[in-house]
């Protein structure tokens, strides 16, 4: 919270806030950031809602795998996705709004599939069956029954996607190009290249204003509670529906894997042919080790503080306290990663707390970025633990600590593992805060990618692509290992 306050104070001291609106270039940048985020959100919803339908309405063989695949882009570092879409696009479209919007769709589909899909899974098919028997055509059925019952989740997912796209940094650095700066790239430029901290802080305040406005407009959507339903087997549906769903599921899988596959083939190809040389640079592996060390530290801190906050939210009965903890741990979502980095830079720039360039400050910033996700994964699981379980353990002779350890901690192990892996992958791919806090010679892998891309030459570009691949596969491997461990543990317990 302190770094955020420092940013606010820095901007309020100056007349920089008004300068943003009087400067036509900055006004144009604000307008571009807003409309590209809006178009990205609409497009993500337009593709994500049918994808959610395919993956959450019927059960079929590959459903779980494809659903897990849709989550892959979400754990990929944005800078990696930026490079992948740059490689995918024809030469004349490698930068600008189009590849940026496409990358945003790819990055955020998982949000729509998860948020809207988990709501859709709870809609009994009998609602739609009833509507059909009462004369509703498939479109009217969606408009009058499905959409009103999904509305809260669609608006919720849309607001998250908009905030992510509005605060875009990694993908924008690679794809938007100098002609189309976004608010995040401008904050970075003013802070890092121009050293104009008041102007950078003023942009942070404008960004905060828009994000809070979106949250204010979209929060408190009335949602009717629905119980979990058993999915209908797709095999019992008409052939045309089965064929349509199979094609759509295949397209989702291919669309998810294609950018990564192209990235990999690109990293193994030079003008002379097949090569491993781009993977054999010592700098890449040094940066990778730095990233792993920082991610380990950041994940441990995020789990420590995140679990503490989640338990405080779950166990407390005082609403005001819950609101305070919720607001505090949500702050890093509202404050973008670059803004957070700027806050840390400003807060720790003078003696006796001049910690600029220290690796642990980077890890602390990564922890702050990951904290809201950790809290959101653990809190619902902690809230579901019935206090009677703990009370029974106490009556059976367990001490309060033993009761907590044997009941709560055992139940929370799965969400803790998922949260830890999530925090770890977020830190591995973190680019925004790192851009402002990393000192030369201690670059993380994501930072190294950014530096390589900003320099000309095929050799360096290919090294960036190989580094992006390494980062992508590390993130996917961590997510898969944790998923496998969780499934294995579950299977063992049900045998």
């Amino acid at each position: 919270m302190w770094p955020t306050l420092v940013v606010l104070v820095e901007s309020l001291d100056q007349s920089s806030l008004t300068r943003v609106l009087s400067n036509s270039q900055l006004r144009q940048m604000l307008w571009f950031t807003t409309w590209q985020a809006f178009i990205s959100t609409i497009a993500t919803l337009a593709i994500g809602i049918p994808a959610a339908l395919v993956l959450s309405r019927y059960s079929f063989k590959a459903r779980q795998i494809i659903r897990a695949l849709t989550f892959v882009p979400f754990v990929l570092p944005t800078v990696v996705v930026g490079i992948a879409f740059s490689s995918l696009s024809p030469a004349s479209y490698q930068s600008g709004p189009t590849p940026l919007i496409l990358a945003h769709i790819y990055l955020n589909i998982a949000v729509v599939v998860r948020v809207v899909g988990s709501r859709w899974e709870k809609l009994p098919t009998a609602f739609n069956d009833n509507a059909a028997l009462l004369g509703a055509t498939p479109f009217t059925n969606f408009r009058t029954v499905t959409f009103p019952l999904l509305r809260s989740s669609i608006i919720g997912a849309g607001s998250i996607v908009f905030i992510f796209c509005f605060s875009t940094y990694g993908a924008a650095r690679v794809l938007a190009g100098p002609r189309f700066p976004t608010i995040e790239t401008e904050i970075y430029r003013y802070a890092f290249f121009l050293g104009n901290m008041p102007q950078a802080s003023a942009l942070v305040v404008w960004q905060l204003f828009v994000i809070l406005l979106v949250l204010a407009l979209t929060h408190r959507q009335k949602s009717i509670s629905l119980a979990q339903q058993n999915l209908m087997p797709l095999s019992s549906e008409r052939k045309t529906k089965r064929v349509f769903f199979s094609i759509a599921a295949t397209l989702i899988a291919v669309g998810t894997l294609l950018p990564i596959a192209i990235l990999l083939t690109d990293s193994l190809r030079s003008s002379q042919g097949f090569t491993f040389s781009y993977w054999a640079t010592s700098d890449m592996w040094t940066s990778f080790l730095t990233s792993l060390g920082i991610a380990l530290f950041a994940a441990m801190m995020a789990i420590l503080f995140g679990t503490g906050s989640a338990l405080a939210l779950a166990y407390s009965t005082r609403t005001r306290f819950q609101v305070f903890v919720q607001a505090l741990t949500s702050l890093p979502i509202v404050i973008s990663a670059v803004a957070l980095g700027l806050g840390y830079l400003l807060a720790f720039r003078s003696e006796p707390m001049n910690w600029r360039g220290s690796l642990w400050l980077v890890a602390v910033a990564h922890c702050a970025v990951a904290l809201p996700f950790v809290v959101r994964i653990i809190t619902p699981a902690a809230r579901e633990i019935q206090p009677e379980l703990r009370e029974n353990a106490l009556l059976l002779g367990a001490s309060p600590w033993e009761a907590w350890k044997s009941i709560d901690l055992r139940i929370l192990l799965r969400p803790l593992a998922i949260a830890a892996s999530f925090a770890f992958t977020i830190s591995l791919g973190e680019f925004g805060a790192s851009s402002l806090l990393t000192r030369h010679g201690h670059e993380t892998l994501a930072m190294r990618i950014g530096q390589l891309l900003s320099r000309p030459g095929e050799q360096l570009q290919k090294q960036a692509i190989a580094s992006a691949c390494l980062l992508a596969f590390s993130c996917i491997a961590i997510a898969l290992i944790v998923e496998y461990a969780v499934q294995f543990n579950r299977k063992k317990r049900t045998q």
């Binding site: 009833n130 509507a131 059909a132 028997l133 009462l134 004369g135 059925n141 009103p148 019952l149």
Partner: protein
């Protein structure tokens, strides 16, 4: 000789990808205005039969004729068949009146005509005092009454009732069974009730048949 109002002929149902059939060569004829109860144990395929008749599930083979017209491949929203599901499934985002009016809106009835018909249905199921209530705040019996009114409102050619009284307590079931019989006869509707309760079947229906008797030996 006139053709039966509903004619189900040699209907078979097998879940795609599974080797065993749920039922094979099932035939049934129903006259106009008749209320038929089909008795059978759970899992015998009674609900699947209703879903096939209304078009929500495709049959593996066989035909369904309604009023002389082959409707085997007609989409559910074009069949004009109503159904009350086990569990009712009222639209949770609509009020009692809005639920009952849903089918009338789909038929593009005028607002006045909708309001008139909704009142008629509310009276029929003794729910006039709860027209504006949120459906989440209804009791089990009230929910069933609204589901029946909603299905009857657009005056379907045929009404299917899939164990509509399951889950209600004994006294309520007896009362509702009588009220349902009254509502169905007052509407002069042709109906099929699926149940495993003999008393319920006897109270509501004109004719009771056993599911196993509908399947021919061939």
């Amino acid at each position: 000789m006139t053709s039966p109002f509903l004619n189900i002929s040699h209907l078979s149902f097998q879940v795609p990808g599974e080797s065993t059939s749920i039922f094979s060569h099932l035939s049934l004829e129903i006259s106009e205005g008749e209320i038929v109860a089909i008795l059978g144990p759970s899992g015998s395929g009674k609900s699947s039969l209703l879903r096939i008749i209304c078009g929500l599930t495709p049959a593996s083979s066989g035909t369904v004729h309604l009023q002389g017209e082959d409707i085997t491949n007609v989409a559910p929203h074009r069949r004009n068949i109503g159904m009350v599901f086990q569990g009712a499934f009222l639209f949770p985002h609509l009020t009692v009146s809005e639920n009952i009016a849903y089918g009338l809106k789909m038929r593009k009835d005028t607002k006045e005509s909708q309001a008139h018909r909704v009142n008629e249905m509310l009276n029929l199921v003794h729910m006039s005092n709860l027209s504006q209530r949120d459906v989440a705040n209804l009791s089990g019996g009230e929910t069933t009454r609204v589901a029946i009114a909603r299905a009857l409102a657009p005056a379907p050619s045929l009404l299917l009732l899939d164990e509509p009284l399951t889950g209600l307590d004994e006294h309520l079931r007896i009362d509702l069974a009588k009220d349902l019989r009254t509502a169905l006869t007052a509407s002069r509707i042709t109906a099929i009730l699926v149940t495993h309760d003999r008393n319920e079947a006897a109270t509501i229906a004109d004719r009771v048949v056993h599911f196993s008797d509908l399947i021919s030996a061939s």
